[in-house]
């Protein structure tokens, strides 16, 4: 039996009500257990012990991200490099037998192997890739397989799939549910993502969907609001572990507070996760008058307790914006005059890519930076809003420790605010917020909360039976004031994968896949429609389960109607 005892550390395990208590954490065969008798002991005296981080919304694999990699070779030259080679001996012991660290690049769009090393090196052990088209899902799974150490899940893009939209237009919600179930299993995904509902379908004609209650371009009656409500209902009926993962309409546009609040009203009573809320919380009439709308969004959000959200915070510096929101990316291209990538995917979705630099001397960027932090500070229940940058849109995931520092230190925030343009300082309210996150609250927004929102009961906590994903941080900040930059140890599935800042062992993560309940006969309905609009044979469309090297299947039971 492979056992490990972490002794003497100060444990933060908010899911189990443990807030900074010195106690042992015991591990056997990849799980947390009550006690172990023998085996290795890590002396964590003076260190803090967290459940491994869980990223609820990131873009690390698949066609869109790979498109972005190809679009920015000039940024790769400045990226951190990862040397190919055998694992360095750590603590006098050789690395795990046969484990090899693969070459790669960090930077704004890390290569797959580097992505695994960077997440693990920061103490994160589970990531949710938030945007997968069915047509290229095979590609996404290939990349996820090449993303080592971390466990993975991924979400299927659904709010612009024309076969589903046509059914919603016709009011055939029951059949739409069967189709969604079939498509989910065809793509081997974990949940459903809705991006700019109706807007990407309209983008196929160069338009957008700006008003929630007006018909989508190309449809007679169907509105974005009906798509949102329809899909949220379908996700509930399918009883998926993760609610509808929603990227609202009008992302990034001044004055979009109204749309965001209206979307919450459309969702009334239904579960949903609102992605990268920062990009949906701007007030003002245009770019000249854009200001923070965080207060209005936070108030509405607090009034809808069935919703969760992630921050999508912005950090100053290089980023690449990647989203299925094609029309927004065209606008951003026209604003920046830089490169623009766009990939429309037949029948299903699209994606746009624009490299971007967030500048602290830009009023708009300064407001964006503040809004992300304001939302995290204004929503007082940490179980409902989680730490993300919508990597790589608002900033790179490997910069999360910088956000943690800003959340925990009001003086650090104010020092940054003083550097912003005076016009920006008048359009934000971050300076008025005194709240400082506690360590326990950090453990919630980085691990316990997102694990709960994803519906992964074995993640995000250190109770008996949980996956043994543990991160041990130093108790004192490093010289840049960052507390979470370099964990002393990261344990994934019971194995020490990071020790003193070095990746010492490489394992393959698992991939969480949900098998929803649907009627197999629905295939006869989908096939002729597929053959009409697609350009490949129907048999080649689904991802065979054998393509996933380490699937963790979650088979759902039929829901009582």
């Amino acid at each position: 039996m492979n056992t490990l005892r972490i002794t003497g550390g100060t444990v933060y395990d908010p899911a189990n009500g443990i807030d900074g208590i010195v106690r042992d954490v015991c591990i056997a065969d990849g799980q947390i257990v009550a006690d172990v008798e023998a085996g290795r002991t890590i002396n964590a005296s003076g260190l803090i012990v967290f459940p491994g981080g869980v990223d609820v919304h990131t873009h690390v694999a698949g066609g869109a991200l790979n498109f972005a990699r190809g679009l920015v070779p000039e940024l790769h030259r400045a990226a951190r490099t990862f040397q190919h080679g055998a694992m360095p001996p750590a603590g006098g012991r050789a690395g795990a037998a046969g484990s090899l660290r693969r070459a790669g690049l960090g930077g704004v769009t890390p290569t797959t192997f580097a992505t695994g090393y960077l997440y693990a090196g920061m103490g994160w052990t589970t990531v949710n890739e938030a945007a997968v088209p069915i047509l290229t899902a095979k590609h996404t799974h290939e990349e996820l397989h090449d993303t080592p150490i971390v466990d993975k899940s991924c979400l299927l893009l659904m709010a612009n799939n024309e076969i589903v939209l046509d059914l919603l237009e016709a009011g055939e919600v029951e059949r739409a549910q069967q189709v969604v179930g079939w498509l989910m299993w065809a793509a081997k995904v974990y949940g459903i993502k809705a991006v700019n509902p109706g807007g990407v379908a309209a983008w196929k004609w160069g338009r957008n969907a700006r008003a929630l209650h007006e018909p989508v371009e190309g449809y007679r009656r169907l509105t974005p609001a009906q798509i949102i409500a329809g899909l949220a209902g379908i996700v509930d009926q399918l009883d998926l572990p993760h609610p509808l993962h929603l990227h609202c309409n009008n992302l990034g546009i001044p004055g979009n507070v109204a749309t965001t609040v209206e979307t919450m009203q459309v969702l009334e009573g239904r579960r949903a996760h609102l992605a990268h809320l920062q990009f949906h919380a701007y007030d003002g009439e245009g770019w000249d008058s854009m200001r923070s709308g965080a207060v209005a969004v936070a108030e509405a959000f607090k009034a809808h307790p069935q919703l969760t959200a992630d921050a999508g915070a912005v950090l100053f510096g290089d980023a690449v914006t990647i989203t299925a929101d094609g029309p927004w990316q065209h606008l951003l291209y026209q604003l920046t005059g830089r490169k623009w990538g766009n990939l429309d995917v037949e029948n299903e979705t699209g994606c746009g890519i624009v490299p971007y630099v967030y500048k602290d001397r830009s009023v708009v960027n300064a407001v964006q930076w503040a809004v992300g932090l304001e939302l995290l500070l204004l929503v007082d229940d940490p179980w409902r809003i989680f730490l993300t940058t919508d990597h790589p849109n608002g900033g790179c995931f490997w910069r999360y420790p910088e956000i943690v520092q800003l959340l925990m230190d009001v003086e650090a925030r104010r020092a940054q605010i003083r550097k912003l343009p005076p016009a920006a300082q008048q359009r934000i309210m971050l300076g008025d917020l005194d709240r400082e996150y506690t360590l326990s609250e950090i453990a919630i927004i980085t691990s316990a909360g997102p694990a709960r929102a994803l519906g992964l009961p074995q993640k995000g906590h250190l109770g008996v039976g949980a996956d043994a994903d543990v991160t041990i941080y130093p108790a004192k900040p490093d010289r840049d004031g960052c507390l979470f930059s370099y964990p002393r140890y990261v344990i994934k599935g019971g194995a020490i994968v990071v020790e003193e800042g070095d990746v010492v062992a490489v394992s393959d993560g698992r991939e969480f896949v949900v098998r929803p309940v649907y009627d197999d006969g629905i295939e006869d309905y989908i096939r002729p429609l597929f053959e009409q609009v697609y350009t490949m044979s129907f048999e080649n469309y689904p991802v065979e389960i054998g393509r996933l090297r380490r699937p963790a299947l979650m088979t759902l039971a039929a829901k009582r109607r």
Partner: protein, 314 residues
């Protein structure tokens, strides 16, 4: 600057009413392109099929593809960049000098008519071939075309796509990007990926004589590369993995016959629009797959002692 504004081929089938082929000869090089994706298919929003679409061919000579085209624009060799740039000006309503326009081999009126047709498309697409990307101007030509397509989106819906070569060249590009960040011309000699086309691309390495050995997989450089590159391949130990004996096999030290992927070996191929397609073998083969040969070579190499001392860690 441009970027790349593109789509999967089904979007072309379902929506495109203006289809431009530029510097390519699909009738001979991609013989099923017209019938499977672009011209003759009835699309969801082009129910009349071929009648609902206009095809424009831009090339320096009248190839067999011209027969399929509604409009043929025969331009002067090497004038692709000038033509794309003139079109970029015309679509935005800028003045283009008659003499400048005529350097392309077309009249100003022809260019204006073409610019109007591009802007008037409901959903337009430009496919460009090696006649554009591998002639004078090379990546500058590609950049100009891609930018033209990007800028047309201020007026209508427009996309652009290169006509990729045979085999799984797109797949190699896709996998290299996710493993190294770069699509081709990657140098791993320092233990991490570096990229510099013109320095690290295969032809340049071979012509300069920089390589001590070569492993050739799914390609036949002995048939396609310039003479100095081929001479160097013959000079150094070259190993070829291929289902058949190629030109390169004849100048190689070692040829290993492998199972043909898609016929007797499984795998994945990426279509030119980067859609992955599974390959299911129909026949058994007595030969090993490429993957198996590479894995066994790697095992044998790993078992050898390192040729340089391992770096000492502090």
């Amino acid at each position: 600057m441009g970027g790349k504004i593109t789509c999967t081929l089904g979007e072309v089938k379902n929506r495109a009413d203006v289809i431009v082929y530029w510097g390519g000869n699909p009738a001979e090089c991609h013989p099923r392109h017209f019938t499977k994706y672009t011209l003759t298919q009835k699309g969801k929003f082009v129910p009349e099929g071929r009648k609902g679409r206009t095809m424009v061919l831009v090339d320096i000579r009248e190839t067999p593809s011209a027969k399929a085209a509604d409009i043929v624009l025969q331009i002067r060799p090497g004038a692709d960049f000038e033509m794309a740039t003139s079109l970029r000006a015309l679509i935005k309503g800028h003045r283009v000098d008659r003499e400048a326009a005529e350097q392309t081999g077309l009249t100003l009126e022809q260019l204006q008519e073409f610019a109007g047709r591009l802007k008037g498309a409901r959903f337009g697409v430009i496919f460009f071939g090696m006649g554009l990307s591998m002639t004078r101007g090379k990546h500058m030509n590609s950049g100009a075309i891609l930018t033209l397509a990007a800028e047309l989106n201020a007026f209508t819906k427009f996309v652009c796509m290169p006509m990729r070569g045979h085999g799984n060249v797109t797949g190699a590009d896709v996998v290299l990007r996710w493993t190294t960040g770069y699509p081709f011309g990657v140098n791993l000699s320092r233990g991490f990926p570096r990229f510099n086309p013109g320095e690290f691309s295969t032809v340049d390495l071979l012509v300069r004589g920089d390589t001590d050995a070569a492993l050739v997989l799914g390609a036949d450089p002995g048939a396609t590369m310039p003479e100095p590159a081929i001479e160097h391949l013959a000079r150094i130990p070259t190993i070829v993995l291929d289902p058949k004996v190629t030109h390169t096999s004849h100048l190689a030290r070692v040829h290993i016959t492998t199972a043909a992927t898609g016929i007797s070996a499984p795998g994945t191929v990426y279509r030119m629009d980067e859609i992955p397609l599974p390959l299911r073998p129909a026949l058994a083969s007595p030969y090993p797959t490429d993957e198996e040969v590479i894995r066994r070579i790697r095992q044998a190499v790993t078992a050898q002692p390192a040729w340089v001392p391992a770096p000492q860690r502090a």
